[in-house]
């Protein structure tokens, strides 16, 4: 297969189709660049919807087989299965913490302060005597939410700006590139400290805002460069020749082929963002009490290292496993989506 609709790494980019070059066009009308499957034999003047072409030439099966190829590889990948299973549990934990514990995390009994783990309180009790197991369970929500919100917002920002900058080039591209350079000059944690320092009340949304403000650049760069590498492909030129407008070319032809590296990065980035939130909360400039977050719990437990190490152990464990799972998931996705590695 010469090109992959998933990653957009088109290897036969030697021929550049000029609009109006009929002889060439005759061979390259297939918007998905898969002319060995017979799509290239349609007459050049005929404008078709992607669905029509798909239905007529059976490209659906080809595309599906590529996706199912990736899926088949993922299904065999034990690391992927374990990581997604754990993440699934964590997502359920974030949405329905009540499914895991009936104990209210804020119902505390001071006489139980710093009790080590036991049969009645699996993770022991914290300084205020609250049940630590239910606190750690409830902590999943903040981490998951902030990871998804920050990466989601960065995706929207990065994909829209990256696609426009990569597709049109020109002054907008230059401007975006310069702004990206500048934002890259500021390390995420250091910059977040500066931003968050200006807020007295810090909620999950304030922390998310700071992390988005300093974390959108990589997605934009990845998308921009893969749009640039895809946009001159034969099938995009063919779509242009067929009269597709810019929006259509970007949305249906370029983006699907340029998104794979972005998705791989985003998956790993969720882990990084979760760690960043925990670090900020640990430092005391992220979330504030009475919010329930693993970073805050570790921060609270740090002075009790000698007397109650379990207060550090459990949130640290949950935090590290969550981050690890996102990294492993991203790794597995990369292996499955990048044909170069196969």
């Amino acid at each position: 297969m010469s090109s992959s609709p998933i990653t957009g790494r088109n290897q036969d980019r030697d021929s550049n189709v000029e609009p109006g070059d009929d002889a060439r066009l005759d061979e390259h009308v297939d918007p998905l660049g898969l002319d060995e499957h017979g799509a290239g034999n349609d007459s050049p003047g005929e404008v078709k919807t992607a669905a029509a072409v798909t239905a007529q030439t059976g490209v659906t099966t080809v595309q599906a087989s590529l996706l199912s190829d990736a899926w088949r590889q993922l299904r065999r990948n034990k690391v992927f299965l374990v990581a997604s299973l754990i993440l699934l549990v964590l997502v359920v934990m974030a949405v329905f913490p009540q499914a895991f514990t009936r104990v209210d995390p804020r119902a505390c009994n001071l006489s139980l302060s710093k009790r080590p783990p036991s049969a009645s309180a699996w993770f022991g009790n914290d300084l205020q005597g609250c049940d630590y197991y239910s606190n750690v369970i409830y902590g999943a929500r903040v981490s998951m939410l902030i990871g998804v919100v920050v990466v989601g917002a960065s995706l929207v920002l990065g994909v829209v700006l990256g696609a426009i900058a990569g597709f049109y080039g020109g002054w907008f591209d230059t401007l975006v590139a310069r702004i990206t350079d500048i934002a890259y000059g500021i390390p995420t944690i250091l910059g977040s400290i500066l931003i968050l320092n200006a807020f007295k009340e810090r909620s999950l949304w304030t922390v998310a805002l700071a992390l988005v403000a300093l974390g959108w650049m990589t997605i934009l760069r990845l998308l921009r460069s893969s749009v640039i590498s895809v946009k001159d492909s034969d099938y995009v030129q063919a779509a242009r020749a067929l009269g597709a407008n810019d929006r259509r070319m970007i949305m249906t032809h370029i983006l699907p082929n340029a998104l794979a590296p972005v998705f791989v990065y985003s998956t790993i980035a969720v882990g990084g963002i979760i760690a960043a939130e925990a670090t900020l909360s640990f430092l005391g400039i992220g979330l504030q009490l009475p919010a329930i977050s693993w970073g805050l719990q570790i921060s609270q437990g740090q002075s009790l290292l000698r007397t109650a190490p379990h207060l550090l152990l459990f949130p640290s464990l949950f935090l590290s496993v969550t981050v690890l799972c996102f990294i492993l998931l991203g790794d597995a996705l990369r292996d499955a989506l990048d044909p170069k590695l196969r």
Binding site: D181, L194, K200, A275
Partner: protein
């Protein structure tokens, strides 16, 4: 080479201006109250607030404010903390300790990171290789502060191998230095391994082997040269992680450098100290990336002729 360096320097100017503008707007132009950002949690009497507004030129137009802020930076004026000590004096006093810790960390990264990467790379697929891959991915996913507590608890409290607080001797730098290095160490090992494995497939390596050179020469002289290029680039970008890591590590291990000063300033909400030191860190970061860019060109002639 000269032209390349000149171009890099010119490109750094907009980044510096942009970064200072960004920092300025983060601290002074955000919707939050800048006085609050500088003063912390405690409410200030109106007279003090007025004096602060005067001192930080808050009643001037933003452009004038920015101009005065930059002038202050250029003159090394980073404000004063609550005890009236100039932040720049604190920095002068604390910086050597942080630099020492960073050097220890860098040494760990260079020695253990490279060694693990090389050994894993030349024996791709071996038990050691897999061990390196698994350990590094585990280390990458554990946040620095968790690792610090883990080190403190096991190596410090339980095994009593290292002191867990303070800097009485150079020996006490080892554990915090290692914790600070751990994340980058893992990246260095992985990067070295990947680029070594890639380069060992090249024709020139086969030629060197065919000539009858010893494996040590093939790897050490012919392959390493090319494999180190991405590692060196990484070390520049990595300084950001090292600096923010220093805030956490110094805070936890009670090392009186710039990191702990920031750590404590965050906890006691001393805005001027936070802003001063973090600004300095950001400029360090930009400067070192510039140095790395130039180094990169010295290592890889292809870069110069782009």
């Amino acid at each position: 080479m000269g032209r390349y360096i000149a171009r890099r320097l010119l490109l750094a100017i907009p980044v510096l201006i942009g970064a200072s503008l960004l920092i300025f707007s983060m601290v002074y132009a955000l919707p939050g109250d800048p006085i609050r950002a500088l003063a912390g949690d405690r409410p200030l009497p109106p007279a003090v607030q007025a004096e602060l507004r005067e001192r930080y030129h808050l009643d001037d137009p933003l452009v004038v404010q920015y101009g005065k802020y930059v002038t202050g930076l250029v003159h090394g004026d980073l404000g004063t903390d609550f005890r009236g000590v100039a932040v720049s004096d604190t920095i002068k006093q604390r910086l050597p300790i942080t630099v020492k810790l960073a050097l220890v960390a860098l040494a760990f990264e260079a020695v253990f990171g490279l060694l693990a990467g090389i050994l894993a790379g030349i024996r791709k697929g071996s038990v050691f290789d897999n061990l390196v891959l698994v350990t590094t991915i585990a280390v990458v996913s554990v946040p620095v502060f968790v690792l610090a507590f883990l080190g403190q608890y096991t190596l410090g409290l339980k095994l009593k191998l290292f002191p867990i607080s303070g800097i009485e001797t150079t020996y006490s730098y080892l554990l915090p230095g290692f914790v600070l290095a751990s994340l980058s160490l893992a990246y260095v090992a992985r990067l070295t391994r990947t680029s070594l494995v890639e380069n060992l497939r090249n024709d020139y390596v086969r030629t060197a082997k065919a000539k009858g050179l010893s494996p040590r020469l093939v790897v050490g002289k012919h392959t390493m040269r090319n494999s180190l290029i991405p590692v060196v680039t990484f070390l520049g970008a990595d300084l950001g992680a090292l600096l923010s890591g220093a805030i956490v590590t110094e805070g936890i291990f009670n090392i009186p450098g710039l990191g702990r000063t920031t750590f404590q300033a965050v906890r006691s909400q001393e805005g001027a100290v936070i802003v001063g030191i973090v600004t300095l860190f950001v400029f360090f970061y930009i400067f070192f990336n510039l140095v790395v860019d130039v180094l990169y060109a010295a290592l890889d002639p292809r870069i110069r002729y782009e």
